[in-house]
């Protein structure tokens, strides 16, 4: 049985937020909830990296471990899902998750915290596949349609990969062995220069 995983190639991510937008639109995620977001470290500094982050569907998921009502379950493909009918909105999973994946709609009065919402790997929920209830609670079930998560499919640079972990590992391994790493990567000296070959300076006396 294939095991579903996301992997984000930080060398390719250009922080376009296309994955974030596609996810919100596909699942009609309400305001204030972001199932996916792009995190940038060392922003503006040479060597900055961006990475698209959502639920990583952990093999030993801490959210499952701490949930007091045991509303989480794992599908045969390794996708971690939850039952919104059981969720009490306590927020334990939010504190336990190292990726900040669980989200809580806060549109209610007095800071009411609604049912938890998170990335479903476009696999829906416990309801009948492609049913109206499933869409309303969890969004589209693209896996049932024979497709992969939309965030990965729309990624213009193919930085965000989603699907069978074995296939993704092969793809990523092939990329790393082809392009090298760090300053060996194509385009690095153009963008940032190299210590032994600094970027070409504009000629003196040129147009200012």
């Amino acid at each position: 049985m294939a095991r579903m995983k996301f992997i984000c190639d930080a060398e390719r991510c250009i922080e376009c937020n296309g994955c974030v937008t596609a996810c919100k639109n596909e699942h009609e995620v309400p305001w204030g909830v972001n199932r996916r977001r792009v995190v940038t470290i060392n922003d503006g500094v040479p060597g900055e990296r961006s990475m698209s982050v959502a639920c990583m569907h952990c093999s030993d998921a801490p959210c499952m471990a701490v949930c007091p009502v045991d509303c989480f379950y794992r599908t045969d493909e390794g996708v971690v899902l939850h039952d919104k009918d059981l969720c009490i909105g306590c927020g334990y999973c939010f504190y336990a998750c190292p990726f900040g994946a669980p989200q809580f709609p806060q549109a209610g009065a007095f800071g009411l915290r609604g049912k938890m919402d998170k990335c479903t790997f476009c696999a829906g929920g416990p309801e009948k596949n492609a049913s109206e209830d499933e869409f309303r609670k969890y969004g589209r079930n693209r896996l049932a349609e024979g497709k992969l998560p939309l965030c990965a499919e729309v990624c213009s640079t193919k930085a965000l990969l989603g699907g069978d972990a074995d296939v993704l590992a092969d793809i990523y391994r092939q990329r790393v062995t082809t392009r090298g790493k760090g300053a060996d990567i194509w385009g690095w000296s153009t963008a940032y220069g190299k210590p032994d070959a600094p970027a070409q300076q504009p000629e003196a006396g040129g147009k200012s």
Binding site: A2, M4, T75, D76, E77, G124, K128, N129, N141, L143, A144, G146, K147, L148, A152, E153, K158, L161, G163, D164, V167, I171, Q174
Partner: protein, 70 residues
């Protein structure tokens, strides 16, 4: 009535019981089969979501993997 007649009578009753027993088992067999089928039905329903709605290699997904290798 002699003892021999009693013996024949007893044997006839045994044949009757034997026939009824075999017939009863035969009649009960379809019922058991139907009940077994009935028990198996929910299991099929429970796995139906995974069989029809889980990840499977489609042309769409194969095309995605192919383009991701670029």
């Amino acid at each position: 009535m002699t003892d021999k007649d009693n013996l024949n009578t007893n044997l006839k009753r045994r044949h009757f019981l034997l026939t009824a027993g075999v017939g009863g088992v035969g009649a009960a067999a379809p019922v058991v089969a139907v009940r077994s089928t009935g028990d198996a039905a929910p299991a099929t329903d429970a796995t139906a979501k995974n069989e029809t709605g889980g990840y499977r290699m489609t042309e769409h997904i194969a095309n995605y993997y192919r383009t991701a290798r670029v």
